[in-house]
């Protein structure tokens, strides 16, 4: 376990790392108050840079650390110490349950690796959005922070907010690129600086006696400056004529210092070869060149221009008058407080009652205002004209002028760094009353034509509307002839664009009546297709069933809630009825649906209800369900439970049916469950079946549209399509296309179109318009409910218990059978105590095999990829962690607990607490305290059932996992109640893990059957199992390989 760290000192980033140190025992070694001796101690959790080199190489990064470096550079790291020693970054490194004494900053040495520009950029890009770089290589908080900062630096380059400069005092002088961050960028720099972990700037040179105090903002600024410079040098420079000429001639010297400087802007080290005198001159020249920049970008104030509608009041007292015209008012506000807007008028007036507010602007608001206005005057001649008075405070505009200000001047002024405020009707998208066209469906053609389907042909006319009101052709022509760009209609200002009006008139004239399929209309309505080039589209006007359908699709009209299907042996909660009815609605129209409810809300049961209903209604064809191997058994189990009369076939394993054999089996089934891997392998015959439906579970498996897996899934013919996912696809624009292309092909256009229309605008500038368009198109096909939604909470039980069926890996099956073989023989001759012991031992062994081969073998072998349960647990915890929720994980085996702790920490890069019988009570208290901390608690708490079963209050978790089972409901419930008790404000989800087809599965069934029987029959332990007959035991232990799923 290594935690990767990055510090920045004097602008230069360097790597270092932390690892657990079993030899370091807190108190004693170097603890206590900061030492008086001059020699600094080594940070005990620094394993050295060589260890880091190895881990980074393994993770596939190219960082040029020499692992055999004898004397790597070191830095002084100023870290909080207590009596026990330094406080490590997290519980991943060492136990945090230290003493409560006041920590003091103390310097210690760490080995560091100074990064070059390329390495910084590459490494931070690789770390973006990741908790680990590799198993056991954790990305530290500080690294994540610098990655965020680097993204900011990247945006400065993308927006070209940089200028060349010179560092004249270095030897030799260095040409550099420097960021320019006025206005909003400065605010963002401040906001970012507040998020810097102090540990990221806690460094000095070895030998320094004082802790560093450079502010976070200054350190961040220096880092951004360095990164911008580094990135500029990484980009391939454009081919300059002169540099080519020079290299051809083999010239070494530059004709002038300007050439040397300009050339150095693209060289790796930026060194400017020039004499001292030349450098000094150049420095002055650069400064003069950049003077304009410095006057405004350093200012703490900002000039703001506000466009006010006619009817506003101007002046006070005797000078008061109501303006007939539009007015642009000058205002100033402090950069850090845009809400404190002060009209320039008030600054000029010097009135007493205004003084206080004006004072907030600092010393020289006027000089600033004048300089700003002087700049703005260069952009807008009307501003220039307004300055020809003694005390300018704004200027009046007629309507065309106001329109020009809105369309032309305001974006330019904004880009130049001025604030611009315009009336809300202009900016509010959608409310901006604009000319639009809409399609009016001819009702006589659709009415009475019987059943509508997506392929029905619909006739419609185009019509024009302004601000929602239909315009006649004549009105349109009148408006087209008008000169005024803004017209007040019914108290609402409307933009009237003569050429747009004319275009609309042309459009209407050329397209009298049209025909299209209903699917085309759906695409049109949702905005997936452009209706008329250059004209806004205002939707479809329809009547009757078509109108009803469109309104239901867009969620403007609720749809009928269906009764649960016949012979469905589960009870749907109210929100599940809604979800199931929604699925049925889309299915009825042949449209694909993505059900993205939170984990634990019952996506499975809603889907099974739909499958059951559809099976009855639509000729009993088979449905193909595709899911990861880890949940295949769960589907079978749930289907058996809720839809017992549907025949389920799980298509998996080496001996699976193929070709004709498969087709026959599929034809007899209602539900065929298979895995993503097999769809890809068997796609040839899978796609020869016309599936009634195709359902993909954990749909994130097809998020990458180029993979063979995703292509194979998309190629399957089917009547309807459903995607299930617990991760919110709609939040990840990049992943959305692939899932939608599976569900509703063509809806989002091809991939390149999608990228251009949505992905780039949304990812790069959070384009609100693109976001809302995308939402409008995809919204009708995605249903996502959160556990925390008010109308869901009321439907949910406070404690929601679920069984999670897992499969065994091949290795687990082999081990399981080996144990069985051994016990079968031994059981024959055993009696009494000996028999009892044998049964319990076997029980224990089999449970261990189900948990993990490494637990059974006790050989410290590798952990990943060997246990179905662990696989499933990891997937589920990913979702829980993404939701920011905490989990309790119970196992009755202390070894399994330790194995889980290490595995989870290495996989997630997050601390996992582990409480077992050997933890002293004081430490135990401290663990509980830490877990109950509202903000800094670890995400996972592993408990051995015996040690953690009673007494503790762990309400910070709302997920409880029983990794293995204690075949006694009372004991399990006691454990569950650690989270489900007074103080718990959320619904608690309890996940009980069971390996399908194994003894776990069978004992569970026995307990379910015996539920009616008093608890004392079952007793307090598992002893009752020893009372079973040999025959019963053999049956209990036996493995149903078909179910176990290897």
């Amino acid at each position: 376990m290594i935690v990767l760290h990055m510090g920045v000192y004097l602008g230069f980033p360097f790597l270092w790392c932390e690892a657990p140190n079993p030899e370091f025992v807190g108190s004693g070694t170097g603890g206590g108050k900061p030492s008086k001796s001059r020699k600094s101690v080594r940070y005990p959790y620094d394993p050295g840079i060589g260890v880091l080199a190895e881990a980074l190489t393994k993770a596939g990064t190219e960082i040029g650390i020499d692992p055999h470096e004898k004397n790597p550079p070191t830095a002084l790291f100023w870290v909080p110490w207590t009596k026990e020693g330094p406080a490590p970054s997290s519980g991943l490194i060492a136990d945090l349950s230290g003493p409560d004494d006041e920590p003091l900053l103390k310097p210690c040495l760490v080995e560091v690796y100074p990064l070059c520009g390329r390495e910084t950029v590459e490494l931070l890009c690789a770390c973006m959005g990741k908790r680990t770089l590799d198993r056991g290589l954790v990305v530290g908080n500080d690294v994540s922070f610098w990655a965020e900062a680097l993204r900011f630096a990247g945006s400065l380059i993308a927006r070209r907010r940089i200028v060349p400069g010179l560092l004249p005092d270095e030897e030799p002088a260095r040409a550099v690129w420097e960021p320019v961050m006025p206005g909003r960028d400065a605010e963002q720099l401040d906001a970012l600086a507040k998020r810097m972990p102090p540990a990221a700037r806690a460094f000095t040179d070895p030998g320094t006696r004082e802790a560093p105090t450079t502010s976070a903002r200054a350190v961040l600024h220096s880092f951004i400056a360095e990164s911008v410079d580094a990135m500029m040098r990484l980009a391939p420079p454009p081919p300059f004529k002169t540099s080519a000429k020079r290299s051809r001639r083999g010239d070494a010297a530059f004709p002038s210092v300007h050439d040397a400087w300009f050339d150095a802007l693209t060289t790796p080290d930026g060194a400017v070869e020039a004499e001292k005198r030349e450098v000094a001159e150049l420095t002055g020249e650069i400064k003069r060149w950049r003077r304009r920049l410095e006057t405004l970008s350093n200012a703490s104030l900002r000039l703001c221009l506000r466009l006010e509608e006619p009817g506003n009041v101007m002046g006070t007292g005797r000078n008061r008058r109501v303006l007939k015209n539009w007015f642009v008012r000058y205002l100033i506000h402090p950069r850090n407080d845009p809400s404190l807007l002060i009209p320039l008028e008030d600054v000029w007036s010097g009135l007493k009652r205004k003084k206080e507010r004006v004072a907030a602007l600092g010393e020289d608001p006027l000089e600033f205002a004048l300089a700003s206005l002087g700049q703005a005057a260069g952009i807008c001649p009307r501003i220039e004209r307004s300055l020809h008075t003694e005390k300018p405070s704004g200027y009046e505009l007629d309507t065309p002028g106001a329109h020009e200000f809105l369309t032309d001047k305001s974006p330019t002024l904004e880009q130049a760094g001025f604030g611009v405020l315009v009336p809300s009707w202009w900016t509010r998208s959608g409310a901006k009353a604009k000319l639009s066209v809409r399609a009016a469906v001819r009702t006589e053609k659709t009415k009475g034509s019987g059943l509508l389907s997506l392929n029905s042909i619909v006739r419609f006319d185009w019509e024009a509307a302004l601000g929602g009101r239909q315009l006649t052709f004549a009105e349109l022509q009148t408006l087209a002839a008008m000169k005024a760009p803004l017209v007040e209609i019914r108290g609402q200002w409307v933009e009237v664009n003569a050429s747009e009006m004319a275009a609309a008139a042309d459009f209407l004239k050329s397209r009298k009546a049209r025909e299209a399929t209903l699917l085309d209309l759906v695409h049109l309505q949702l905005g997936a297709r452009e209706a008329a080039p250059g004209l806004a589209f205002d939707g479809i006007r329809a009547e009757g069933p078509l109108q009803g359908f469109l309104e239901q699709l867009e969620g403007r009209r609720s749809f009928e809630e269906l009764p649960p299907p016949e012979s469905f042996s589960g009870t749907l909660r109210p929100y599940q009825v809604r979800g199931y009815s929604w699925l049925a609605f889309l299915r009825q129209w042949g449209l694909g649906a993505c059900l993205a409810d939170d984990m634990g809300l019952g996506k499975t049961i809603q889907t099974l209800a739909l499958i059951r209903r559809d099976w009855e209604d639509n000729g009993k064809g088979p449905v193909l369900l595709i899911c990861p191997m880890s949940v295949a058994q769960n589907w079978r189990k749930e289907a058996e439970r809720f839809t017992p009369d549907l025949s389920v076939y799980v298509h998996h394993g080496l001996t699976r049916r193929k070709e004709e054999d498969f087709k026959k089996r599929a034809a007899r089934s209602a539900l065929v469950v298979t895995t993503y891997a097999l769809v890809q392998r068997d796609v040839r015959f899978l796609k020869e079946i016309l599936w009634d439906g195709v359902v993909v579970d954990e749909a994130q498996n097809i998020k990458n549209p180029e993979t063979k897996q995703a292509r194979a899934v998309r190629s399957l013919p089917s009547g309807y399509r459903i995607a299930l996912t617990g991760t919110p696809v709609e939040n990840n624009v990049g992943d959305l296309w692939s899932v939608m292309e599976f569900l509703n092909p063509g809806l989002l256009g091809n991939r390149a179109e999608f990228k251009k229309r949505f992905f780039v605008p949304i990812q790069s500038r959070n384009d609100a318009d693109a976001v809302s368009r995308l939402k409008r198109i995809t919204g009708p096909f995605i249903l996502r409910r959160l556990k925390t939604d008010r109308n869901i909470i009321s439907d949910l039980p406070e404690k929601n218990e679920m069984k999670v069926y897992c499969s065994l890996t091949k290795e687990q099956v082999t081990l399981y059978e080996a144990v069985l073989k051994e016990v079968r023989e031994a059981l024959e001759g055993a009696e009494g105590i000996q028999r009892k012991g044998l049964v319990l031992a076997t029980l224990s062994k089999l449970k261990q095999v189900c948990n993990h081969p490494a637990q059974f073998l006790r050989d410290h072998s590798s952990v990943p990829g060997r246990s179905g349960k662990l696989e499933r647990l990891t997937e589920m915890l990913e979702e829980v962690v993404d939701m920011g929720e905490r989990s309790l994980i119970f196992s009755q085996f202390a070894e399994m607990g330790e194995l889980l702790r290490q595995y989870l920490e290495e996989t997630f890069g997050m601390e996992a607490l582990f409480l077992h019988g050997g933890v002293p009570s004081k430490k135990r208290e401290r663990m509980v305290e830490r877990f109950q901390d509202p903000t800094h608690a670890p995400m996972f708490f592993i408990l051995s059932l015996k040690a953690g079963g009673v007494g503790l209050n762990l309400t910070n978790a709302n997920h409880v996992f029983h990794f293995d089972r204690w075949w006694n409901p009372a004991v399990e419930n006691q454990a569950t109640d650690r989270a489900f008790r007074i103080g718990q404000t959320r619904n608690v989800q309890v996940h009980k893990f069971i390996c399908a087809g194994t003894l776990e599965d069978k004992i569970d069934e026995m307990i379910e059957r015996k539920k009616g029987i008093a608890e004392d029959v079952v007793g307090s332990g598992e002893g009752w199992l020893t009372e079973l007959s040999n025959e019963e035991l053999k049956n209990l232990f036996s493995l149903n390989k078909d179910l176990a799923g290897a």
């Binding site: 060149w289 304009r292 000089e367 005390k391």
Partner: protein
């Protein structure tokens, strides 16, 4: 000033000047010099002297970079121009400076409306400023030959000669960038003028001395920030502490050119071989995709660029 029309030019073929390395290259490679009205006004002075082909040659000198250096002082200009001889010629100009009383009068008139202070503070020359000088009966630009004296160490007995003309043109270009140089030639530095104007503005804004204003922001206002000794605060941020900063605004490259560079304009007396603004813009443009790639988290290095 001696004006001999033409015949020298006809009878003595012009000597070829020696190539000057690293001279100041006019950024106006084509057409007339001077974009702003004040620069054009300055150029108009030299062009009013009837010196024939010397003007053309002066322009060519300015474009080719024959002027090696220019220094501007209060009322003085001294420059070195590479001609046909090994040693560069020395050009000197003296412009008549205005008296303190004249400046005070001008400043008074200038502060009658806000536009002059505003545009000057923004680094621009207000168009009607000459009118104001006129009302104060003080000429902004030198008018009489007595107002401006020029001198060159070359053997040409015409004054102005082509060397003087070249310097004059380059000065015009520099005035485009920094109109305050005209005031400097008339004896007043930028800071002095602003200070003077400030005295007549009602609220008397103080003018900070630009030379002492700290250059970078971190020196300006960042107080020391000691490290916290509480381990949780020291190590830091989790997803809990504060919202991530959303700087997704406008990460896309501006459409046409780098507005920042355009706003800063030409470099003072640029002597580089590449045209300054164009070359700078092409560098910024070339790097822009990399910036966007890093910003989107898509950049993977090793010259592959973005994987987008």
């Amino acid at each position: 000033m001696v004006r001999r029309r033409g015949y020298y030019d006809y009878y003595y073929p012009p000597s070829q000047p020696r190539e000057a390395k690293g001279g100041i290259k006019a950024q106006t490679q084509r057409g007339g010099f001077g974009r702003s009205w004040w620069a054009k006004r300055w150029i108009g002075i030299i062009e009013s002297f009837n010196i024939g082909a010397r003007l053309n040659r002066g322009r060519t000198y300015a474009r080719k970079g024959q002027v090696i250096s220019i220094e501007i002082g209060k009322g003085t200009v001294s420059a070195q121009v590479q001609g046909s001889r090994a040693r560069p010629y020395k050009v000197a100009m003296r412009v008549k400076t205005l008296t303190d009383a004249q400046w005070t009068l001008v400043a008074q008139k200038l502060s009658e409306t806000a536009v002059f202070a505003a545009r000057l503070l923004a680094g621009e020359m207000p168009e009607s400023i000459e009118e104001v000088f006129g009302r104060a009966r003080v000429p902004l630009f030198p008018t009489k030959s007595a107002d401006i004296a020029t001198e060159c160490s070359c053997p040409d007995w015409s004054n102005p000669c082509k060397h003087i003309a070249a310097v004059h043109y380059l000065l015009g270009e520099e005035f485009d960038r920094d109109p305050f140089l005209i005031f400097k030639l008339r004896g007043l530095e930028r800071e002095e003028l602003i200070h003077l104007l400030g005295q007549y503005l009602k609220q008397k804004p103080k003018v900070k001395d630009e030379e002492t204003c700290p250059e970078t922001e971190e020196e300006c206002g960042d107080a020391p920030e000691p490290l916290p000794s509480d381990p949780i605060r020291f190590w830091g941020v989790g997803p809990e502490s504060g919202d991530p900063v959303d700087f997704r605004d406008e990460a896309e490259a501006p459409a046409a050119s780098a507005p920042l560079i355009r706003r800063l304009g030409a470099f003072p007396f640029w002597r580089g071989e590449e045209p300054f603004i164009e070359a700078l813009e092409s560098l910024l443009k070339a790097a822009s995709p990399l910036g966007l790639g890093v910003f989107l988290g898509e950049w993977r290095g090793k010259g592959k660029g973005t994987s987008a």
